[in-house]
Each structure stands twice: as structure tokens, then as C-alpha cells.
Symmetry: C2
Subunit: 376 residues, 2 copies
């Protein structure tokens, strides 16, 4: 085992994609002139329209963040209070939290080993009289098995919600990933390849549903003298919409850069015994949001040991998603959870490591990261 | 009745207070350099500290908007599901909506004629076994009767929440208005005198409560490996925090300018028969958020006629708050509302008109507005 030297400049797991400040400033001049800072104004509506084209969806509603978007999406579906939503525990906290905030109960289902998304073959055994929906997450941009999920939903008359926080621009069989299920949420948080600093959107083929969520994000106000629904504030302001308009111009270039890094990582790391690289299914395109690897038993270190080794060298990888949501203290004793088989997720949560993955990662850094894994 | 001519440039009820773009840009350069765009970073924490000083409170938590702040405040109080919160219907939609989104029932109480805030003398008759809290609104910056409300709350063991969306920097007997009740919400929406485009905060003398809401605004995450509470995303980003830092430097000057306008309006309009100008109680300072007038029966026009007359001249006043919240279609049939006396609010909602009120309103415009009222 070679002695590695600590690198000087820290390497983080990601770096936000920033448009040039001079490009953003052109928009800010417009905004300062018009004095319209928020409330679905010019930049907001322009971004909404451009995102429809980019994501190849017919209806889209922008939000101030992905969590509020998901919260409103679930609200708009009018699921019975206290009913159960079957979801994956292999996701960020926001996913089950949005179920809970709506007075519904998240029921955690196991994941399948290839894509690490909710295992459709394990969903049916969790369906009860109280089940009202399935919430799948396209984790790391790997698409859920949308076909099987649709069949189950039809059979049991359930709503289907997708969390596509990691799957910006992903297509399944050439179709934009925002076209599946009843409603899909995208996140535009600073850590996302396309971002509005904080932000998100909802997409749906159901134009009435998007009309409803657009009303709910603005307090349910229909006109100056009519408030029809019990809404909330989910508005994305003009500054962030402008940031998004500029980000739209550069995210593809960032994806191309990340693709080169991915090919480099794939090439070096696929030769390392005990390192498994999950592959995108052939029918789907990669959002290039994360680069996860699986640490198997025959690797020389455990995932946690490798994580610590990286950290000691000033390289910050992420144990996404450890802990899994069913491990959180707020869900551990979830009294509504019926006994379920979480074998795969309980294994994977201890094996997955997300490597640094962003366009400006240089050759020296990429080489260093691979060396750490090769020489551990 | 004199024939008035339509003015060329529209006059709106308010204009957002904007720092110089060049001043904001100094912060943006910092942010672009650090690449920290959000998640409670440098600008955010600086603003949080400075606002504590400005509002003279010991604990404060910033939010992405005032509605999410109020939503989280109510959540953090852990009120029993389905319990009743006594509130005023003379407020913006967000107030009752935040009660409803928490699975609680807004019970609308009448207002008192001087301050147009919730009438403490009518609260007790609305208290039932299911009442858990009182939510008062310091409407137009007029303070609620915090003393009487505190006494009722103590007697019946109720929580007290204040919506101070209109009351930035207001003091009651020299004490910052964010120090009353269990928790107070401020809004920093673009229409507010101090603003962060969209934004808000919570203040409380209870440091544990502010610790809790600060956790809830960030998904309940305690550390990389511990999610303790079912939280949400209420984070204010670094760009908006920077905007706030610059706005803090200029809002007092805006208040001084508005004070001059107020004195001018007071002087001219107090002489008009049938126009009543609500006055700030002697023990409170004015936030200068709005300039409301009351149209009485002996005025030559009704409030709606005066509103229309202004509109025809390109002057946009606001019928804040018409309709009142109990009139909204989503609350009209509120089955939880026990029969209550809403005499005063049902009268005032048809009498109040907010006049254009912002620092850059010029002498010509102010004169024109007064002329319309004098010559109607």
C-alpha cells in the first residue's frame, strides 16, 4: 500500500455551475429598470417556457425550491389524510418529509440492485387498503422502472409521483423523464447540474394539475378579489430565474465535460477488483448529476474506510445515501411501516460512494482520485 | 366636481426598495469567488446577526419567504392536529393558509376599529376545548393589543403567534415587536419596506424554539448522518441575503421619506369630510409600510367608487383587505367556524383604501392624489 500525500486544495464532491457574473448582470439591469422583482414576471415566464422545451414536457410550473414543489405536488393530488405513500428510503430527506408534511405516511420499499431505484417487484406486497400513491425517485439520474410502476398503479388505482431531482434532461426511450406518472419534481438547487441557486419545478401531462399547482404556489389567488384554494408561497423570483436562463446556456457543456470524466473514471476504475460501477440502462440518457461507485466485499477497504482515506487526503466524497431514510431518528419508529424487506437498501447504503464529479475537475485531480482507489 | 385629467405615468400603491446594483455586485463577486450560493453561508449568517440588532431580538431565523416561515413556526409549536387557531380575517391569505396547511382550523375573530387588529375583547367567546393558539396580525404595522392577548393566552394556556409582515422595525413601548408572544413572523417580500426580494424571518424569546425552526427549515438535518426532525426547505440563499444586507443600509432613509409623505397626506386629508385617518397608538412607532384611509358614510363616494376613480386616472390604490379571509371561497363554508360576530371587519373591508406610499413619490403625484380625494 503506497503512502499517499494530502493534496493542497480540497476537492469537493461537486461544484456549482455558475454563469458568468457579467451575463447575469445584463438581466439584473433589466430587473432594476422594470422594478419587477418577483411574482411570476418576465424572466420567470421566459424560464418556464424554455424549460418546457429543454425537458420536452407540455406543462411546467417553476418553484422556489424542489421541496416546496414536491410538497405542493402531493397536496394537489388530494390524497386522503393519513393514507400511505409507498416510496424508496434511498433518497434525500426531502422525499419522505414532503409525504409526512401532507399528513400522509411514507412506507419504505426496498430498491433494486441495478438502478438503486424503488424495486417494483416489492411494491405490491406493501399495498394496503390505505395506500394512495407511489413516489419513485430517479436516484443519481437512474430512471425508475416507469412501465412496471405504471402497471401496478393502474391495477390498484394509485397516483404516481416522481422525484427527478437528479435527472435533469434525462430521457427514457427518447421521452423526457418529466412525462411519466401523474407529476414529476425537478430540483434546481445549487448542487444540481442545472440550477437556479435554490429552485425547482413540477411537470405533468395533466394540464389541469399544473394549473392547480401554479395556483397553489401563489396562495391560491385567482384574481385581486378571489382566493379559491388554500395555497402557499412557492414563487421563484426574477433574479434566480435570470440565473437559470444563463445556466440553461451552459449546462450542456458541463454535461459534456462530465462525460469525459465519467469515461476516464470508468476506464480506470472498472479494472479495480471490488469496485462496481453502476451503468445507466441502455434506454436512458445520463443527467451526469453524480458518479456513484459500489464498494464490494472483495475490495481491500470498506466504503467507510475508503471515505475516511479520501477525507484524510483532503478529498471529500459523499456516502449518498447513508443513512437511508428509514434509519433517521424521525422515521425509525414509524408506527405505520408494515414489516418490509429492506435487504438491498440496507446493503447498498453501506457500499455506495459518490466521487467528485464536476466539469472543472482537472487531470491531476482525476488521476489522484483514481490512484487512491487503485492503491488502497 | 372638477374634471380630473389622467396622469401619464402610472402610480402604483408601492415601489420596491432597491439597493444600487453596483452595491449588490460587490457581494456577488464574493459569492462567485467562494462558490457558496446557499445553505446558510456567510451572507446569510451576517444578515441574520444584523437583523437581530435591527429588530432588537435575541433569537432570529431567516427564511426564503414569510409564508414558509409562518408555516414552520406553527409546525414547531406542535399544536394538536385539527385544533383551532383564533385569528383575524383582516389579513393577507398567507395567514389563515399557514394554519390550514398545518392541519389546524382557522377561527376568524372580529377586529377592533382603531388598529384594525384582532379584537381581544371578542377572542374569549370563540375559545373552545379545541382552541390551541391565537394568531394576531400587526396589520399595516398597527400593533395588536399584545398585553390583553397575553393575559387571555395565559388564562387558557394557548400559544400566541404574531404575523408582523407589515411591522418591520416597529416598537411597542420601546420594545421590538418581535419580542411578543411565542413567535413572530416578519416578511421580506419585495413589497415590504425592508426586503430580500422574497424572504422572511422568525423571532422569539424562546431560543429552543428558534433552534427548532432553524432545524426544520433545513430538512431537520442535524449532521451529515443524522436527520432528527421532519423538516422542509426554507433556506434563504446568499444572493438574497446580500440584497438584504444592502437594503438594511437604506431602509431608514426610505422610512424618513415616507414619513414626510405621511405628514403631507395627514395634513391635507384630515381636512376632508368623511375621510378618517387611522392613527398609530402613542406607545408604538410606525413601520411606514402602508398608508390606509377609511372612507366614511359622509364622504361623497363609496370606497369602491373612489378606487375606480383613482384607477381611471392611472393611480392604483389597493382595497387591502377586500375580500376579508372569511369571504374567500376556500373559507366561506369553513365548517369549523363557530358563529361569530364579524361586524367591524365586514364594515371596514368596504371602507379601507391604501394610498400610494413610497419614498420616490414626488410632490406632483402626492398633490394629485390628494386632489382626487378632495374633489371627488
Amino acid at each position: 500500500m503506497e503512502v499517499m500525500t494530502k493534496i493542497k486544495r480540497e476537492i469537493f464532491v461537486t461544484k456549482p455551475l455558475l454563469p458568468l457574473l457579467s451575463d447575469l448582470n445584463k438581466h439584473l439591469v433589466d430587473i432594476w429598470e422594470s422594478k419587477w422583482l418577483t411574482n411570476m414576471s418576465i424572466k420567470h415566464n421566459e424560464l418556464e417556457n424554455k424549460l418546457k422545451d429543454t425537458l420536452e414536457v407540455s406543462n411546467l410550473s417553476l418553484f422556489n425550491n424542489g421541496t416546496i414543489a414536491l410538497l405542493v405536488a402531493i397536496k394537489a393530488l388530494d390524497l386522503p389524510y393519513g393514507s400511505e405513500v409507498i416510496t424508496t428510503p434511498f433518497t434525500f430527506a426531502a422525499t419522505p418529509h414532503c409525504i409526512s408534511w401532507n399528513g400522509l405516511k411514507p412506507v419504505f420499499c426496498d430498491i433494486e440492485p441495478n438502478t438503486m431505484t424503488i424495486d417494483p417487484d416489492k411494491i405490491e406486497s406493501l399495498i394496503t387498503q390505505n395506500t394512495s400513491a407511489i413516489l419513485g425517485v430517479h436516484v443519481y439520474g437512474f430512471p425508475c422502472n416507469v412501465e412496471k410502476i405504471e402497471n401496478i398503479a393502474k391495477k390498484y388505482n394509485l397516483k404516481v409521483i416522481y422525484d427527478a431531482a437528479h435527472a435533469f434532461s434525462t430521457k427514457i426511450n427518447g421521452v423526457g423523464i418529466g412525462n411519466f406518472g401523474d407529476v414529476t419534481m425537478f430540483s434546481f438547487h445549487a448542487t444540481k447540474i442545472f440550477n437556479t441557486i435554490e429552485g425547482g419545478c413540477l411537470t405533468s401531462n395533466n394540464s389541469l394539475l399544473i394549473k392547480k399547482v401554479s395556483s397553489l404556489r401563489n396562495f391560491g389567488i385567482q384574481s385581486e378579489e378571489n382566493v379559491e384554494e388554500i395555497g402557499i408561497n412557492g414563487k421563484l423570483n426574477e433574479l434566480q430565474a435570470s440565473f437559470g436562463l444563463e445556466c440553461l446556456k451552459i449546462y450542456k457543456d458541463e454535461q459534456r465535460k462530465r462525460n469525459k470524466i465519467k469515461l476516464y473514471y470508468n476506464d480506470r476504475l472498472s479494472k479495480v477488483k471490488g469496485i462496481k460501477i453502476p451503468r445507466m440502462p441502455n434506454n436512458a440518457t445520463d443527467s451526469h448529476q453524480y458518479y456513484p461507485i459500489i464498494i464490494e466485499d472483495d475490495y481491500s477497504l470498506t466504503r467507510d474506510e475508503l471515505y475516511k482515506k479520501f477525507k484524510s487526503l483532503n478529498i471529500f466524497t459523499r456516502k449518498y445515501f447513508y443513512p437511508a431514510c428509514h434509519d433517521y431518528s424521525c422515521y425509525k419508529d414509524n408506527p405505520t411501516m408494515i414489516p418490509n424487506d429492506l435487504t438491498v437498501v440496507n446493503d447498498y447504503k453501506n457500499r455506495v460512494l459518490c466521487l467528485p464529479y464536476y466539469g472543472s475537475l482537472n487531470q491531476y485531480e482525476m488521476n489522484k482520485i483514481c490512484e487512491v482507489i487503485e492503491n488502497a
